[in-house]
């Protein structure tokens, strides 16, 4: 089964380890029987009334486990990971949910957080009704809002982008469509023809491959520029800030 582990508000301005990087680093803490399927960055509403460090972007570790008995150990390790690496003065939150839970209301909450101001009280109510774990781990505990939203948006499956996915950062550039598929990443042409790409075609990533979560899958949107197939990536500022 898949386990969604949402993290938010683990850093402060100027912190060396942002929430995205903290979540990627969590892979090393996974016990035997657990495997990181992917780490996702999600974008929530940017509004002056919402206190956030830089971009109001929580992250979610999606972990595959063989045995539900691992969940308490994973949760304990996530709490310890946050305690070890979260910035002094941050307001961390953690959410843990199984993909088999009824997450429909959590998904609605996540989508709401992308364009509305949400509250801790509402987050706790939604989490309680869905039966998912939602933990405030310091400061104002405001991180529970983004942590729950990150789980909801990951379960929704149609927004956010991958910070990590099956050795993403070690893939060559350029890389063939077939090799991307072997890595679990579907290359999708987004030009007018929307034609199936030749498995032998080479995709140029510029070293910034950052698949999107579309249909619950890792998808690389592909454009043709100057006769070359280019994967939509990320801008350098995200490497500095969110990762």
């Amino acid at each position: 089964m898949k386990l969604y582990m949402g993290f938010d508000d683990t850093d402060v301005a100027g912190a060396k380890i942002g929430t995205g990087r903290l979540v990627r680093m969590f892979e090393r803490k996974l016990p035997e029987g657990a495997r990181l399927w992917g780490a996702l960055r999600h974008q929530l509403l940017i509004d002056p009334r919402i206190p956030f460090t830089s971009h109001n972007s929580p992250a979610c570790a999606v972990v595959e486990i063989e045995d539900a008995a691992l969940i308490p150990a994973l949760t304990a390790r996530a709490i310890a990971h946050i305690a070890e690496l979260a910035s002094e003065g941050s307001d961390p939150g953690l959410c843990v949910a199984r993909d088999s839970d009824d997450l429909s209301e959590v998904i609605e909450f996540g989508l709401s957080c992308t364009h509305e101001i949400e509250t801790q009280d509402h987050a706790r109510e939604v989490a309680a009704r869905a039966g998912v774990e939602l933990l405030g781990l310091g400061g104002t505990n405001d991180g529970i809002i983004g942590a729950l939203a990150a789980v909801g948006l990951s379960a929704y499956g149609w927004s956010g982008r991958f910070l990590e996915y099956g050795g993403l950062r070690r893939l060559p550039d350029p890389i063939s469509v077939a090799a991307l598929a072997e890595a679990g990443i579907e290359a999708v042409a987004i030009d007018k023809k929307a034609q199936a790409l030749d498995p032998r075609a080479l995709i140029h990533t510029g070293g910034w491959l950052s698949p999107r979560l579309w249909g619950g899958r890792a998808v690389a949107p592909i454009e043709e520029k100057d006769g070359r197939l280019i994967a939509l990536g990320k801008r350098p500022r995200d490497a500095e800030v969110a990762d």
């Binding site: 989508l111 992308t114 149609w158 007018k192 034609q195 199936a196 498995p199 579309w214 454009e223």
Partner: protein, 235 residues
Amino acid sequence: MRILIGIDDTDGAGWAASTARLAREFGDTLDGEARFIGSVGHMLFSGIAATTNNKASCLVVETERTDALDALFQLAAAYVEAHAAPSSAPGVVVAGEEAERLIDFGLEASRREIRGDEIEPALIGLRATGLRARRGLVGAAAAVGLTARGWSGRWLEFGGLRRFERAVQARELRAQGMFLVSLETDAEAPAPEDWVDTHGWLRPQLVAGRAVLPLRRIGEGMWATASVETAKKFR
């Protein structure tokens, strides 16, 4: 049960109705037979002679009728025979779950010309028919395979695409079952009240088996569909 109906090579030089239009109009006749979900246009290998471009269509329908495959096959074959251009060489392929068997064939037809001797083996055990030179069987089978795969092509009909105004709110598109995805670095979800400029050409992509609109942000609360320069190549 979901049923796919591939149709290709029904038009000819000077013939008013393209295959895409014929497929769409056939879908509209299916009331009572099956629910017409939409039709998907697939671009195939461009290096072979085609009327305008090598594009095949696939209708997606749903039904609970146990005899639907045979009934729809007969209806589709009769409709194509009655409405295809006299100079055309149409093909019709109808498949339920067995459509998966045509995925590799569809991918091959996207990247190279299919030899004549490759067609019949691919169609063994499937409901397929062709008229005259039967060239359209390749495209019809490929369209079924690619639609079953679910990761390429554009919806030419899906919940009344043509009735939308050029500027439409995200919530209206979602209500029709479309998924809106941002191509921006933040990959954010467009808000329900955000506006989408479709450039007057609303043709979602087939992605993960769904109707998906990749969008670029053009302003606060405003988006535009991506990769659309001018309308009207897909009819």
